[in-house]
Structure formats: structure tokens, C-alpha cells
């Protein structure tokens, strides 16, 4: 069964009945659809899935899903999800956030989540702006984008999250586009299926504060190359990438991190013996 053949109703079953607060036309609507399509394709029981997010328009997503969810604080979703997955390896844990949540305030957890390589799937809805706080630049914003907080633009080179993910150890790296929900669903399926930390950047236009992003549909294209497992080749590719190549860009083979739980636990009273005089 592939994403296209999964029935729309199977996907819809993963949606909650809560109406999103998003602006009409926001890219996040189709990311939501892509996620439900992916869950349906994988046939995940909704109660076995937890979607963890931070704060931002994109981070509102858990409430719109019929899975378990955690809408935490700004920037800490990957850390919260790490604790959840380590304590409950049986669950499928997906993290969802925005470019501000994930790369600005959440940058350290992003680095260390990649490095730790816990079996999580991290979906970042990248709109190169702080949508929820009404239009400030994020790390992925173009240096010359004019706005009230940094008039004339930040003057800073945009952050390349895929390169950082690769450099810090993510095991699966892909880029999707919200205008292509079927393709994005496919990426999410592969991300979930690949063990370890999987990072999926989804270009998801903010129609309100970045109306120029409506043009993204003309800019994106399938990456002209096949996914690679060669970290050097991937580095070269990602460093020169213009940000609009879609598809799986790197798949590694690192073993996911797990905490080792003894199969033969003893009772607390046994370990107390060490204190006996």
C-alpha cells in the first residue's frame, strides 16, 4: 500500500474534530494532511502515537490529530519527546515544530537530538518567519527580508538546518513541501520507518506574513539525485543546495540510542544493602 492508495477516510480518522486556528491558505493545513496520510499508510493505532510540539502556529498541530499529543513550551519539544521515547520505546513519537521553535530557541535541543539519535521523527514546518508572534525573522529567514523588528532585514546568513542535522548526527534527512502533501506523506512514512533521529523539513508557506512564499510552488523540484548514505557526499550536496530540492537527502545507518534497562530488576530493598553498616 502506498500513500496514494491509502483511502482518504483512513487518513481522516487521524484528525481530531478541532478546527485549526490557522489563517486560510496556511501551508500547515496540508502538512497536517500529510501527517495523517502517513499515519494511515503505516496503519499506526492512534493510541500508539504521540505528537509533541512547542509553541508557534505550526506547533498547534497535536490538537488537530486524534493521537496522543503534547503542546509544550517554546523550543523544548525535542527534549520532551526524547524523555517520552526513552521511557516508552513502544510508542511512535513524532515531534512537530516551526523554524523559530526548532532552530532559534530550540537550537540546542535540535543539535543534541541529532547527536543522541533517539528513534524520533522531527517535522519542522519551515516558513522562514515567526508566524504566531506576527512576523519576525527566524534563523531561516533571508537576510534582506524587511520587518519591524529588524528593519531592512537581519543581515544574517540564513541557517541551514539540513546541514546542521547532518553535521550533528541525524540519521535521516529529507525536505518536503506543503504544496505536495502526497510526497510529504511519503517522506514522513520513510522517516518514521527509518530507525534513529529522522529530520524532515517541510517548506510550509506563511500566507499572512510571507505572501511572497506563494511562489515557492514554482521554486521547488524533486532533488536531482538519489538519497545517499555517504556523509561526505551529503555534506557537499547540502552545503550548496538552494533550499528547494525535495526528497530524501540522506539516510544513514547509525544505531539509535536507547537507555539500557536491565531485564532482571531487583527490588529497592536489595540495593539498600550497600548502606548497611
Amino acid at each position: 500500500m502506498n500513500t496514494q492508495t491509502v483511502s482518504a477516510s483512513a487518513a481522516r480518522a487521524y484528525k481530531s474534530d478541532v478546527k485549526p486556528v490557522w489563517c486560510p491558505g496556511c501551508g500547515d493545513f496540508t502538512v497536517l494532511s500529510a501527517i495523517t496520510k502517513a499515519f494511515a499508510e503505516l496503519g499506526l493505532p492512534p493510541e500508539q502515537v504521540a505528537v509533541v510540539s512547542g509553541i508557534g502556529c505550526s506547533s498547534r498541530i497535536p490538537a488537530y490529530l486524534n493521537t496522543y499529543g503534547f503542546h509544550g513550551v517554546h523550543g523544548r519539544a525535542t527534549a520532551l519527546a526524547t524523555g517520552l521515547k526513552l521511557a516508552r520505546p513502544d510508542l511512535t513519537v513524532v515531534v512537530a515544530s516551526g523554524d523559530g521553535d526548532g532552530f532559534s530557541i530550540g537550537g540546542n535541543h535540535f543539535l543534541h537530538a541529532c547527536r543522541r539519535n533517539v528513534d524520533l521523527t522531527y517535522i519542522v514546518m519551515d516558513n522562514r518567519v515567526y508566524g504566531m508572534t506576527k512576523g519576525q525573522p527566524s534563523p531561516t529567514t533571508e537576510p534582506d527580508w524587511d520587518n519591524a523588528l529588524t528593519p531592512g532585514g537581519t543581515g544574517l546568513r540564513a541557517f541551514n538546518p539540513l546541514v546542521i542535522a547532518l553535521a550533528s548526527g541525524a540519521n535521516f534527512i529529507a525536505r518536503g513541501f506543503s504544496g505536495d502533501p502526497v510526497g510529504t506523506a511519503r517522506l514522513i512514512v520513510e522517516a518514521i520507518e527509518t530507525p534513529g533521529f529522522s529530520f524532515v523539513e517541510v517548506l510550509s508557506p506563511c500566507v499572512t506574513f510571507r505572501p511572497d512564499q506563494r511562489d515557492w510552488r514554482n521554486a521547488v523540484r524533486p532533488a536531482p539525485v538519489q538519497p545517499t548514505g555517504d556523509i561526505g557526499a551529503a555534506a557537499r550536496r547540502l552545503m550548496t543546495d538552494d533550499g528547494f530540492n525535495l526528497g530524501v537527502l540522506y539516510v544513514g545507518s547509525r544505531t539509535p540510542y536507547q537507555t539500557h534497562r536491565t531485564a532482571a530488576p531487583v527490588s529497592p530493598s536489595e540495593i539498600e544493602q550497600q548502606f548497611a553498616v
Partner: protein, 580 residues
């Protein structure tokens, strides 16, 4: 110091020396030997700013009674050398009848020692050590101290054997020979603080530090997931738990920072595993935002703050009770949560255990305020009772339609669906929300959820655990204190009782929520109260004034660290106050 703990069967010893001299090793062995000899005791380490190679002091008190404070003076000081001793002088009060053992190889004792008027006796520790192949002066000193304090030779042997287990027979024999040389020398020295022989005891005893005790309490309470970022003086809790959890089937993960560790335990607990982290002031400050998330989303977690001198990086290796304010009030918004504090090293086991119980039962963060003194001191104590607490996390097993995670249940605690529970899917929410967990800015939802979160912790039955109310419960003069200050206060009150003055002692373990009714009941009949604490701004005193209806006028005795309270100081303060 107004009065001395002159009673028989109680001796305080300081062993000092520069880094590498081995005073800490010798101190640990001495405590172990004393434990085997049937004594109670406490072992405090003090060291300079150097990581290694700096001056250090092992401060040991042995007694036939349980020990919860350092004594007013040291009866015996053994100086392996006098390196930087001025830095320690104020931590090493000596009296005229104290005995100082000085090694002539180090030259004349320093002025700070001489001016105390203590009796100084020269013993050539280094030369004696040299006389033993591979002998070391710290072992000679250990033997000397054991001899002077009356610890039987076999306890010394056993203590040495335990520590040197892995080092081979030769090392053990060398150390033993040096110690025995010291022991032999002690016979020729006058010292009036020899401990009596112990007469056996019923309860079994433990040797434990407060940090280990807190870790153990957490495991007893059911904690099986810990996220860790090291910080002095909390690191030992985490390190002990790393090994302990591995044995009981739990796990510890090292986090990149405290922002991560607090969120990791929220995630783990949301997943159904009781979870904890431990830190100190700077780390707690970083965690408050997310502790607020746990309050709003009603996820149980336990955070242990082992307090040190503040503000900012402050004095990492010294104790203070100055994180009370941040623990009570450090969260933004109205964010009711639990704050508890252990009142002794042994009580760390109970209080950490209870904290897990409260957090889980109430689906709320519980903060445990320990401190450097409790955490890093090691004591010989009666084995703590293993209490089983009844209520644990209220969960749903089967869920009908329309599960409402934040339903307004009676008592405020609503059953929690653990991920994996079919039909229980919900989103844990840090925004204000409806009973179903949907974001809401409606006044009805806000008030209902604020009430719920407050009422569940106010309505809970904390039983007698909320405070230790001891000493002379009929006295109309009350002392109120908390945490590690309780130990020296208790000893001060014992001395005052010996002088015929009696006081009621109230040591709340439950600091938040404020329990004005319980406090009022505890104070019934009291005419005046004195609040004692180790903070510069009298945080506890002001908290009591603000949130409790003290039925009597209250006064404050407070001062900051780094020096510990000693009973004599408190005897004086309490006596003056009660006479006023």
C-alpha cells in the same frame, strides 16, 4: 559560644591537610570504623576552591547519640600539614581544652591555631609513616585518632579492609601498619573525650549521605526515569541514581542542559513513568518555565534542589537555605505546586519518597529542597523505615467517548490517560484549556482550571507528615525552622532543656501549599515564636508572615551561609530571645 556539648560520649575531630594528603580518605575510614564500633556519627568534608591539590579538611563528629549537627568546637584537630589553614580557621573552632596534634616536620603551628589557646602536642606523623614501608601520614593520623577516641582496633582493620579491598594485600598491610603505629602512639597522649564502648543496639544502622538518601527515597517512591545535568552539590544524587536505576530496571539519561532535563522528565512522566531530576539553584532557575508547564499540563514530576550559597554562581560548595523563595514563587503566573524539605540526612529518604507520592497522587510538580549540608554530609543513622504510600497516579484503563483529560473532578485530580490507552488520546496543554484540553481564553475555563489546580493540592490529606512537631510540645514558646537547620536547633533545644528551659519545635516538611490551619493548630497555646533559618533576607520568616496566620508574635533569627549553624550559637540566640 555559650554552652558546650560537654556530655560524655561525643567527640568532634578535624583532620586537615593539603591536596593529596588523603584527609578525606582517612575521614571516611574513621566514620566507617566508628559505625562498626556502634557509634553514631557525621562526616563533613570541606575543601578549598581547587578541584584537586587544594587544602581539605575532614570534619567528623562521633557520638553515642544520633548526630545532626556539627558541634561548637573540635575537641581534636590533627594537622597533616598547615597548608592554607587560615581559609579553614573559621570552620574549625577550637577551645582551650581542645587537643591539636602537630607534626614538627611542618614547622611551628600557624598563628590562627596558637591563638585559640588549644593544647598543642607534637607527633612526628610523617616520620612515623616513613618508618613503615609505603606508610602514609594520613593512616598514622587515622590510627592516632582511633586510639584517642577509643575505637577498637578491629573496627579500624575492617574499615581499612573495606576501602582498600581492590588495592591488594600489600597496600592494605602498609596502611594497617601505619595506622597501628598511630594507634600505639595514642596511648601516650592525654585526651578526655574517649568514647565509651557501645553496648549493642537493636535497630540496624546505615551509613549514608543525604544525596544518596534522596536518591534512594526517589527509587522507593517509584521513580524509574531520571534526566541529569551535573551541578554541585547535587551531582551525587544523579550519579548514585545512575547505578541504582540500572539495578531496579529504570534508566538515567544525561541531558545537554537543565532546559532539556526538565522537559525530558515531563515527557517520560507523561508517558507514565515516574520521573525526577536533581539540580541546584542555577539549574532550578533554568527549569522554572517548564515546571510551570508541568503545573498547567498536570504532569507529575519531582525536582530536587540541593541548595548552595547564592545568588548567581555564589558559593557552590557551601550550604544555604536561600532557594526557598524561588522554589515557592519562582514560576510565572499562578502556578500551585508542592514544595517539601527534609529535616535531616535520614529524612531525605522519607521526604524524597513522599515527594514522589505527592507528585504522582496530585499530578503536580513536587520540589524537594535539600541543601549542601544534608546532601554531601555522610552520617551513621538508624535504618529508615520503608513506608508504603497508598495513593498513586490516577489513570484511566478504558475510556468511553469524549475523554476529558482536565475534567473538573471532585478534589481536582482527574484521571490521566497514559499513551497506549485506546480511546484516551488527548493533547497535554500548556495553554489555558477546556476540560477536554483544547486551548481556551474564556474566563470560565481559566477560573475553573485555576481553581482545580489549586484545590487539588489544598484538599489533599498530608496527614502528620506535614511537619515534625517535637521536643516540648506543651511549651508556650515555639521555635519554627526547616531543613538542615532543624538538626542544630534540636541539639540546642536539648541543651536548653538540660538547663530547664523548654520549647516547642515545629519543623514543616510541607512548605507549599501553605497550611495555615495546620500551623495554627501546631501553635495552639504558644505565646511567642522564633523563626530560625539560614538565609540573608529571612525568606522563611517572611513567607510565614505572608501566608500563615501565626496566632502569636514571631521573631526571626536568620543569617546566610557559608558557616553551618552550631548548637552553641543557637542556644545563645534562643536563650536571649526567650529571656527578652
Amino acid at each position: 559560644m555559650s554552652e558546650d556539648s560537654a556530655e560524655f560520649g561525643n567527640v568532634s575531630i578535624a583532620l586537615t591537610g593539603s591536596g593529596g594528603a588523603g584527609v578525606i580518605t582517612a575521614g571516611a575510614m574513621l566514620l566507617d570504623a566508628a559505625a562498626r564500633a556502634g557509634c553514631y556519627g557525621m562526616f563533613v568534608r570541606s575543601s578549598g576552591p581547587q578541584i584537586r591539590g587544594g587544602e581539605a579538611a575532614a570534619l567528623i563528629r562521633l557520638s553515642m547519640q544520633p548526630v545532626e549537627a556539627q558541634d561548637d568546637v573540635f575537641h581534636l584537630l590533627v594537622g597533616l600539614d598547615w597548608h592554607n589553614i587560615e581559609r579553614f580557621a573559621v570552620e574549625l573552632p577550637l577551645a582551650a581544652n581542645s587537643l591539636v596534634i602537630a607534626d614538627p616536620a611542618n614547622g611551628p603551628p600557624p598563628e590562627v591555631i596558637i591563638e585559640t589557646g588549644a593544647r598543642i602536642v607534637e607527633v612526628p606523623l610523617k616520620d612515623m609513616a616513613k618508618a613503615v614501608p609505603n606508610g602514609r601520614p594520613n593512616m598514622v593520623a587515622l590510627g592516632l585518632i582511633a586510639g584517642l577516641t577509643g575505637l577498637p582496633e578491629e573496627t579500624l582493620q575492617a574499615a581499612l579492609a573495606k576501602v582498600l579491598e581492590g588495592k591488594g594485600e600489600k597496600a592494605l598491610q602498609a596502611s594497617l601498619a601505619a595506622a597501628l603505629a598511630g594507634l600505639a602512639t595514642s596511648a601516650g597522649l592525654e585526651f578526655d573525650r574517649r568514647l565509651p564502648a557501645a553496648t549493642g543496639h537493636e535497630k540496624s544502622r546505615w551509613q549514608i549521605s543525604g544525596n544518596q538518601a534522596a536518591g534512594l527515597g526517589a527509587i522507593r517512591g517509584g521513580v524509574r526515569f531520571v534526566a541529569a545535568y551535573p551541578i554541585t552539590p547535587a551531582t551525587e544524587i544523579l550519579e548514585w541514581l545512575a547505578a541504582g536505576l540500572a539495578k531496579v530496571g529504570g534508566a538515567l539519561v544525561q541531558a545537554e542542559d537543565e532546559l532539556a532535563s526538565i522537559n525530558m522528565i515531563i515527557g517520560a512522566s507523561y508517558g507514565g513513568t515516574p520521573a525526577l531530576t536533581a539540580t541546584s539553584g542555577p539549574g532550578l532557575a533554568l527549569m522554572t518555565e517548564s515546571i510551570g508547564l508541568a503545573v498547567a499540563s498536570e504532569v507529575p514530576i519531582v525536582v530536587i534542589d540541593v541548595m548552595r550559597g547564592g545568588p548567581s554562581t555564589g558559593i557552590p560548595t557551601k550550604s544555604e537555605q536561600s532557594d526557598l523563595n524561588i522554589a515557592l514563587f519562582g514560576l510565572h503566573g499562578d502556578a500551585p505546586h508542592i514544595v517539601v524539605a527534609p529535616a535531616s540526612i535520614g529524612d531525605c529518604v522519607f521526604t524524597a519518597n513522599w515527594a514522589v507520592h505527592l507528585a504522582e497522587s496530585l499530578q503536580v510538580p513536587a520540589l524537594v529542597l535539600s541543601d549542601q549540608f544534608l546532601g554531601q554530609s555522610r552520617a551513621i543513622i538508624d535504618q529508615p523505615a520503608d513506608l508504603a504510600f497508598a495513593t498513586q497516579r490516577l489513570t484511566v484503563e478504558t475510556v468511553g467517548d469524549g475523554y476529558r483529560r482536565y475534567a473538573l473532578a471532585a478534589g481536582g485530580v482527574s484521571p490521566m490517560a497514559i499513551p497506549g490507552t485506546p480511546g484516551g488520546q488527548y493533547t497535554a496543554e500548556g495553554l489555558e484549556h477546556t476540560p477536554r484540553g483544547m486551548p481556551s481564553s474564556q474566563v470560565t475555563d481559566h477560573v475553573a482550571q485555576l481553581d482545580k489546580r489549586r484545590d487539588k493540592i489544598l484538599g489533599f490529606d498530608y496527614g502528620d507528615h506535614w511537619a515534625q512537631i517535637t521536643e516540648d510540645v506543651d511549651s508556650d514558646l515555639a521555635i519554627i525552622t526547616w531543613g538542615s537547620t532543624a538538626g542544630p536547633v534540636r541539639e540546642a533545644l536539648n541543651r536548653l532543656r538540660a538547663g530547664g528551659r523548654t520549647f516547642r519545635l515545629i519543623v514543616p516538611r510541607l512548605l507549599a501549599p501553605a497550611s495555615p490551619q495546620r500551623m495554627a493548630a501546631a501553635l495552639r497555646g504558644v505565646k511567642r515564636a522564633l523563626v530560625i533559618e539560614q538565609s540573608h533576607s529571612a525568606q522563611f520568616f517572611h513567607y510565614l508572615r505572608g501566608y500563615f496566620d501565626l496566632p502569636c508574635p514571631a521573631d526571626s533569627y536568620h543569617r546566610p551561609g557559608p558557616l553551618p549553624f552550631r548548637p552553641g550559637e543557637l542556644v545563645e540566640q534562643i536563650a536571649n530571645w526567650s529571656a527578652a
